[in-house]
């Protein structure tokens, strides 16, 4: 199953590597959001420093919406959806492959954004283990939930407007958890951040199960 999932993920990443939409459009968008936040909250007044963890994760969520939309729009062209169903790969592997490719893209995005807040916002890190763990767990949570709701919205004319409405309220706990954990890791007390990582792990586990069960019926439909 993992081998099959890896096949799907590699396919998506290869499309991405050749088209470079995430690299040339989504990544610049994320950096643009960081700059816009700086314009909105004057960096000299200290507001930006206090708000950095929240701004970082809001930027990640918005960029993730674009990455998710992209992940499913490559399927809608040229009957790829039907081809995948004909391929005989188990639905769970298809879904895991999608999750993997979205998660890998998000990780790259988060590393660049992290460098962005350190360079542009002058953030200092006090708890590296917590920071890295938060990024990994939050990425899994966003990718699993996002991919499941992405396939709910896939192939519909209203896809672009429907996906944010479905995903953002669902991801609210991840935003709260990752922001609080980041506050603890960036200048706070790292021990306060670990319960939030736990909460996000539970969230991710729920969505791994839901995605594995729900993807099959959604792929069957005509």
């Amino acid at each position: 199953m993992w081998a099959d999932a890896w096949l799907v993920a590699v396919k998506d990443l290869r499309i991405e590597f050749r088209s470079r939409v995430a690299l040339n459009q989504v990544l610049p968008f994320a950096l643009l959001v960081l700059v816009l936040f700086a314009f909105a909250l004057d960096p000299d007044r200290g507001l930006l420093e206090k708000a950095t963890p929240g701004l970082y994760w809001v930027a990640v969520l918005f960029s993730a919406l674009l990455a998710l939309g992209r992940s499913f729009s490559v399927e809608s062209a040229d009957g790829v959806r039907d081809a995948l169903r004909l391929s005989g790969l188990p639905p769970v592997a298809l879904w895991l492959g999608k999750v993997l490719s979205v998660a890998i893209q998000l990780l790259v995005l988060e590393v660049v954004l992290g460098a962005g807040i350190i360079v542009l916002y002058g953030t200092s890190v006090t708890g590296w283990p917590l920071l890295l763990m938060t990024i990994v767990v939050a990425t899994v949570a966003i990718a699993t939930a996002g991919t499941l709701y992405g396939v709910v919205a896939a192939g519909l004319r209203v896809r672009e407007t429907l996906l944010p409405l479905l995903v953002l309220p669902v991801l609210a706990p991840v935003l709260i958890g990752s922001t609080r954990a980041f506050e603890a890791a960036l200048g706070g007390t790292p021990s306060e951040g670990w319960p939030w990582v736990g909460l996000m792990s539970v969230f991710a586990a729920v969505y791994v199960v839901a995605g594995a069960l729900g993807f099959g019926p959604l792929m069957e439909e005509t």
Binding site: V152, L165, V170, P173, R180, W196, L199, F203, L218
Partner: protein
């Protein structure tokens, strides 16, 4: 309601044929009487609260509405599970009707809550765990309804909405828990300490009790009607397509 049994869609059982029945007419009448009784006790006979003043009367609607909203959500998730599991169209429509009625009662809960909060706390909105998670509940319900109302085939809409509906209650629980932690780590939840949880007795308790009955009846009436309208709408959509196909065939034959 004897005609609505849990049957697959090809069926002997025709399902509802009108938006109401004699039973629902009686139910509606009883609901109206209950609302009148609630208005009498809630607005006239029960005394004003020592702490909250006249604003306490809002709670006789607010608390039952919140309960009704939660019940609607549970119906949606239950219906979605049973639709995915047993392909029961009946339960799918119960899930849809439940979500729509739950949305209505969530809005009522939020609006009455804000109207109560302004005189009691001095503000319409505080970032309290209960308020925030109720607002998120409304957004989750709107997401479900957006999927359910897509302009696609019934199967596509129903299946996708059922996945969203299945996750509705788990999401509400996770959101609630996270918001609870988020607020309590920052501030102590003091808001309800002299509000709902304080002792309540006599006519005030009776008014609240009447509120629960009146809202339950309204909830039931709305749910049944919404179900029947949805059932008929699906029926019309199907027959409409079949009739149109038959018409085109007839055209082709005559030409």
């Amino acid at each position: 309601m004897t005609i609505e049994t849990d049957a697959p869609d090809d069926v002997v059982d025709p399902g509802p044929l009108t938006t109401g029945s004699r039973t629902t007419a009686v139910l509606g009448g009883v609901a109206l009487v209950a609302i009148a009784v609630l208005a009498l006790f809630g607005l006239v006979l029960s005394p004003a609260d020592a702490n909250q003043g006249e604003a306490v009367r809002i709670l006789y609607v607010h608390v039952p509405s919140a309960t009704a909203a939660y019940i609607g959500c549970f119906l949606t998730t239950t219906g979605s599970v049973l639709y995915l599991w047993r392909r029961s169209r009946w339960w799918e429509l119960v899930a849809f009707a439940g979500a729509e009625v739950a949305t209505l009662f969530t809005v009522i809960t939020l609006v009455t809550g804000m109207l109560w909060g302004r005189p009691t706390w001095g503000v319409f909105w505080v970032w309290d765990a209960r308020l925030t998670s109720t607002a998120m509940l409304l957004l989750l319900l709107l997401g479900y309804l957006a999927v359910r109302r897509l302009s696609a085939d019934y199967e596509v809409r129903a299946k996708r909405a059922a996945i969203v509906g299945l996750l509705l209650v788990p999401n509400v629980i996770i959101v609630r828990q996270s918001v609870q932690w988020w607020r309590t780590l920052h501030q102590k939840p003091t808001l309800f300490s002299n509000g709902l949880d304080s002792r309540i007795e006599g006519l005030m308790l009776f008014s609240l009790f009447t509120g629960f009955i009146a809202i339950a009846l309204v909830f039931l009436w709305l749910l049944i009607h919404r179900f029947r309208v949805a059932w008929l709408a699906e029926q019309v959509a199907e027959e409409g397509l079949e009739a149109a196909i038959a018409e085109r065939r007839a055209e082709g034959a005559s030409a």
